[in-house]
C-alpha cells in the first residue's frame, strides 16, 4: 500500500490539479495559487544549486529580480509581446549568472555565499538607483498583462477573468520549466552534480571539472529563477527593487529548506506551505518574522530534511515495519 502511494507521480498530478483552481471562482485562491506556482519554480531552481550541487547561494534573488526587470522593461517600456519578453527574462538572468557565477565558483563555502550576496546587493543597488531604466526606488508599477484575449475562445476556461487566464498560462509555463529541470537533474549531468555535492575532491579525480560544472549549474539555476521573476513581475502588477534584495533570497532559501533540499519537489512544497502560512499568520498578527524564525528553528532542529524529508522518513519507517 505504502509502496503504491509512494510511486504515484505526485508532482505532475498536482500540476494538473492546479489547472482547476480558477474553477473555484475565488480571486483570492487564484492569487495565492499563482504566487505558489511561481515561487515554487524559484525555489526548485535554487535547489539545483543547494540540494543537487551543494552550493549555498545567498543571492539567488538577483536573477529573479533581473528576470522581472527584463520582462517588465520590455513589456512596459518597449511594448514587446509576452511571448518574447518571457524567454528574455531567462536570457537576461542567465547572462548575469554567467558573469557573476564565473567569479563565484572560484570560491568555496562561506566565501562563495558572501560573494553571491554581494552580487545580489549590487543588482539591488543598481535597480534602486538607476531611475531612468528601472524606475529607481519606485520601481515599475503597472506592468501590462500579456495579450490573453484569445483564451476567451477556449472551452471551459473561456469565461474566466484575466488574472485566471494569466494563472493558467503560468501553470503551463512553470510545468514546462519543471519538466526541463526534472530531465536535467535526472541526466548524467545531474548525477555528476551530486558527486560534486558529496565530495568535490573525489569528483575532480573522476575527471569532473568542478568549476565548470558548478558554473553551468549556476547559469541554469539563474535562467529558471529569471523566468520565475519574469512571471512574478506581471503577476505582481509591478516590478520593484526589493525583488533582488537579500530578504527575497533568504525567503526562497527558507522555502527550500522547509520543503526539503533532498528531493526535487521539496522546495515547491516548501513554497506552498510557507506562502499559505504567511497568508494565514499575517492576517492575525504583524509578527510574521517571529513565526518564520520559530518555524525555521523547528525545522533546523527537528526536521532537517524538511517536510518532504520527514514524510520520506516516515514512509521508510512504515515500510520497515511492514517488511
Amino acid at each position: 500500500m505504502i509502496e503504491r502511494l509512494a510511486r504515484v507521480p505526485w508532482g505532475p498530478l498536482v500540476m494538473v490539479a492546479a489547472f482547476f483552481v480558477p474553477a473555484l471562482g475565488s480571486r483570492f485562491y487564484t492569487f495565492v495559487a499563482t504566487d505558489v506556482v511561481i515561487m515554487g519554480l524559484f525555489a526548485v531552481s535554487l535547489n539545483l544549486l543547494i540540494g543537487y550541487t551543494g552550493l549555498v547561494s545567498f543571492g539567488h534573488a538577483a536573477y529573479f529580480g533581473i528576470g522581472a526587470y527584463t520582462t517588465g522593461i520590455l513589456m512596459k517600456k518597449l511594448g514587446v509581446p509576452f511571448v518574447l519578453a518571457f524567454p528574455a527574462a531567462g536570457l537576461g538572468a542567465g547572462l548575469a549568472a554567467l558573469v557573476f557565477g564565473f567569479f563565484c565558483v572560484r570560491l568555496t563555502k562561506i566565501y562563495f555565499a558572501m560573494l553571491t550576496l554581494a552580487f545580489a546587493q549590487i543588482v539591488w543597488a543598481i535597480c534602486f538607483k538607476w531611475n531612468d531604466v528601472t524606475g529607481g526606488e519606485q520601481g515599475m508599477p503597472e506592468i501590462p498583462y500579456p495579450a490573453l484575449d484569445w483564451m476567451q475562445r477556449l472551452p471551459f476556461f473561456g469565461d474566466f477573468r484575466a488574472s485566471d487566464h494569466f494563472y493558467l498560462v503560468t501553470v503551463v509555463l512553470v510545468a514546462l520549466c519543471f519538466w526541463v529541470l526534472r530531465r536535467i537533474v535526472g541526466s548524467p549531468f545531474g548525477r555528476l552534480l551530486t558527486t560534486i555535492r558529496e565530495n568535490p575532491e573525489r569528483a575532480e579525480f573522476i575527471g569532473v571539472s568542478v568549476r565548470r560544472y558548478e558554473l553551468i549549474a549556476f547559469v541554469i539555476a539563474g535562467i529558471f529563477a529569471g523566468l520565475a521573476g519574469g512571471l512574478f513581475g506581471i503577476f505582481n502588477r509591478g516590478v520593484f527593487p526589493d525583488f533582488a534584495y537579500w530578504t527575497k533570497s533568504s525567503e526562497v532559501l527558507i522555502m527550500t529548506l522547509l520543503g526539503g533540499m533532498g528531493s526535487f519537489w521539496g522546495p515547491a512544497v516548501g513554497a506552498l506551505v510557507l506562502l499559505v502560512l504567511n497568508q494565514q499568520i499575517t492576517s492575525y498578527t504583524e509578527y510574521w518574522p517571529f513565526v518564520l524564525g520559530t518555524v525555521l528553528i523547528v525545522i533546523l532542529f527537528a526536521f532537517p530534511g524538511g517536510i518532504v524529508g520527514a514524510l520520506a522518513a516516515g514512509v521508510t519507517r512504515l515500510r520497515m515495519r511492514h517488511a
Partner: protein
C-alpha cells in the same frame, strides 16, 4: 610510464618533499614506503595535480603533466584512491562507480538523457571485479570500512586508468582484510595490465607484491630498488629501527 624528476614542495618553510626522483615502468607494481610524515601523500598529491610542485617535473607517458589540474590528469589515464576513504557517501554503490564512467566516457555534459541504466554493464563488471556486485543498491556511506575501500578501488578502476595510484590501500584494515585487499589488487592489476604505484605502511603488504620499492624519509628518497635490496639497505634499517613490522 611515469617519470618524476626532482620534485619539491615546501609548506611555510617546511620542506615536505625535497627533490624526489623516481620512475615506474609500464606494467610494474611499485611501492613508496616511509615512516609517518615522510611525505608520501604529499608526493602523491604532487603527481596527481592536487598540489603544484615548487620545482621539478612529472611526466606521464612522455607528456609533461606538471601542475595540471586533477581532472585533467585523470583524463590522461591516471587513477587514484585516497588515504581517507573518499567516496560519494549518499550515492549508492552502483551510482558511485557509474558516475566515474559517465565522466570518463565523456557523457558528463548530457542534459536530457536519462541516467538510470547508463553504463550498467560496465559498472557491474567493475563491481564484480572488486567483489561488491551484491551491494550495488546500498547507500555507500553505510558500508563497512573495508567495503568502502573496495568501492574506492572500483571508482578508480572505472576511470579506466593505465596507471593506478593507491594511497595506503590497506589503512585501518584487519589482517584478513589486508590479505584479501592485496589479493584483489594483484589480480586486478594483472587482469587489466595496469601499472601501479602505491604507498604503504604495512611492510608485509609491500614486500609481498611490490616489484620495486622507493623509500622516503623526511621528504627525501633514501633508497630504491628491488625488495631484497631495499630490505637489506642499512640506511633503511636505521630509519625503521624501533618500528615494528606487522
Amino acid at each position: 610510464m611515469l617519470e618524476v624528476r626532482n620534485v619539491r614542495k615546501a609548506f611555510d618553510g617546511f620542506q615536505a618533499v625535497g627533490g624526489v626522483t623516481l620512475g615506474v615502468a609500464r606494467g610494474q607494481i611499485a611501492a613508496i614506503i616511509g615512516p609517518n610524515g615522510a611525505g608520501k601523500t604529499t608526493f602523491f598529491n604532487l603527481v596527481t595535480g592536487h598540489l603544484r610542485p615548487d620545482a621539478g617535473v612529472v611526466i606521464l607517458n612522455g607528456r609533461d603533466i606538471t601542475g595540471l589540474a586533477p581532472h585533467d590528469v585523470c583524463r590522461l589515464g591516471m587513477g587514484r584512491s585516497f588515504q581517507r576513504t573518499n567516496i560519494f557517501p549518499r550515492l549508492t554503490v552502483f551510482e558511485n562507480v557509474q558516475a566515474a564512467f559517465i565522466s570518463h566516457r565523456g557523457r558528463g555534459l548530457s542534459f536530457f538523457a536519462r541516467v538510470e541504466g547508463l553504463y550498467r554493464d560496465e559498472t557491474y563488471a567493475v563491481l564484480e571485479s572488486v567483489g561488491l556486485q551484491d551491494k550495488a543498491g546500498e547507500v555507500s556511506g553505510f558500508l563497512s570500512h573495508g567495503n568502502q575501500k573496495q568501492l574506492e578501488l572500483g571508482i578508480a578502476l572505472a576511470s579506466e586508468p593505465e596507471l593506478l595510484l593507491l594511497d595506503e590501500p590497506t589503512a585501518g584494515m584487519s589482517a584478513t582484510e589486508t590479505r584479501e585487499t592485496i589479493r584483489l589488487i594483484e589480480r586486478i592489476t594483472r587482469d587489466r595490465g595496469l601499472t601501479m604505484l602505491f604507498t604503504e605502511h604495512d611492510m608485509e603488504v609491500v614486500f609481498s607484491i611490490a616489484q620495486r620499492i622507493s623509500v622516503l624519509h623526511q621528504g627525501r628518497l633514501i633508497a630504491e630498488g628491488a625488495p631484497a635490496e631495499v630490505r637489506s639497505d642499512p640506511e633503511v634499517r636505521r630509519v625503521y629501527l624501533g618500528e615494528r613490522a606487522r
